[in-house]
Amino acid sequence: MTTENPDPATGEVNFMDPAFAACPQPVYAKLLAHFRVATTAVLGTPVLSRYEDVIWALRHPEIFSSAMDVHMALGTERPMIPLQVDPPAQTRYRKILDLRFSHKRSLELEPQIRQHANQLIDGFIGCGECEFNSAFAIPLPCFTFLSLMGLPHEDLDLFIELKDGIIRPPVAPEDLVGAYEHRAKTGKRIYAYFEKVIEERLAAPRDDIVTYLTSAEIDGDRLTRNEVLDICYLFLLGGLDTVTATLGCSLAYLAANPDQRRRLVQEPRLGPTAIEELLRWETPVTMVPRLVKQDVKVGDVEIKAGTLVNLLLGAADIDEAEFVDAGRVDFERQRNRHLAFGGGTHRCLGSHLARMELRAALEEWHRRIPEYSIKPGETPQFSPSIREVRYLPLVWNGRK
């Protein structure tokens, strides 16, 4: 049985449909064409798709708030900082955080990331195949995170377990209570882990982010212990899966589109525009939530204060009103104001780091493994929400 997504009569859209995660663009196109304000199938909350509506919402946090009471869903005891905080407090946090996540600072990690990417490739290149997600897309961002935070690399498996415990708790999909309990339990472990790290850094400061957070001052005030914890918690959840998903979506696209891949490999000048185009087309973080603070009208639909809305970044990124020939993947696209990292005051703090990781990973991968394809007879499997390609079997020939 197939059901149309979105429902052509009501505009109800099912984001949990695996077919949506695997190939969301046709769903976006229908939403853009027919439903300026759609609704989600599960909660019935409004969905904004047009570029102009999404960027407007992102730029107006006083109407579209990020401070919402959904934080318990992620095992947290308080809002994550700065993601779930509104200006002016958010702006103050960003002032000190931006300094450590600037474009320049992100480049400092690049040699380490390239080296680690090569170590990972060394481990499987001789096999002629790998499952990309577990072999590369998961460990590389975890390594980056540990390096950045100044944490021991032996903790890699622990971190993967902790973030998975929040993002995909090991219970049946319909077991909401079990999921909630597992998240709450995992959340306590995350807080306890970082509590210990904070203690250690206070006793023996080092050149790392946790030390920086314990000593940074905003207008003369230091962050409280809880503020440091709430920032670390966000880094763990925000810094790992998003990059994993971006690497997976990019490689899945390039494996399935050999002509595009060969052009990219043969013409390195295309690298920068190709990366922006992959981010636009795939937009792995498909949507972000906002809480409406005052009644607003979008088109002729009124949205009441107190409503949770979904800003569908992925749909905005294929809106013909913003992008010329939006349905075509063009590695030479000159104007590309995609919203894969959001926009406005909450623009992804890690965007510079993510771009560097994606560039380094694609360059090193293609230097070592320029020709590859999806394993014959196999189909990549995508998870919804953040479009992680949880199963991506790749094959190649030859050694380099």
Binding site: I55, R59, K95, D98, L99, F101, S102, H103, K104, R105, P272, Q334, R335, N336, R337, H338, L339, F341, G343, G344, T345, R347, S351, H352
Partner: protein, 64 residues
């Protein structure tokens, strides 16, 4: 040609200094910094490309 940035709008995407580093620089937070508002001759197209890639519409170009 002159370029200006509205710092209240700039969100630090960094597209401008990536696309036209001769015209735009990054400040310590990774936000746009324009050391010299007058665009050197020959770099006008690059400056325009950077401006149209700003998702926040923070860059204004004055053609002379």
């Amino acid at each position: 040609m002159k370029v200006r940035v509205d710092h209240a709008k700039c969100a630090g995407h960094g597209r401008c200094y990536d696309l036209a580093p001769e015209v735009f620089e990054e400040d310590e937070r990774g936000h746009c910094h324009i050391p010299n508002a007058t665009v050197p001759a020959g770099l006008e197209a690059k400056a325009r490309l950077a401006a149209v890639n700003c998702a926040e519409d923070a860059i204004t170009i004055e053609e002379s």
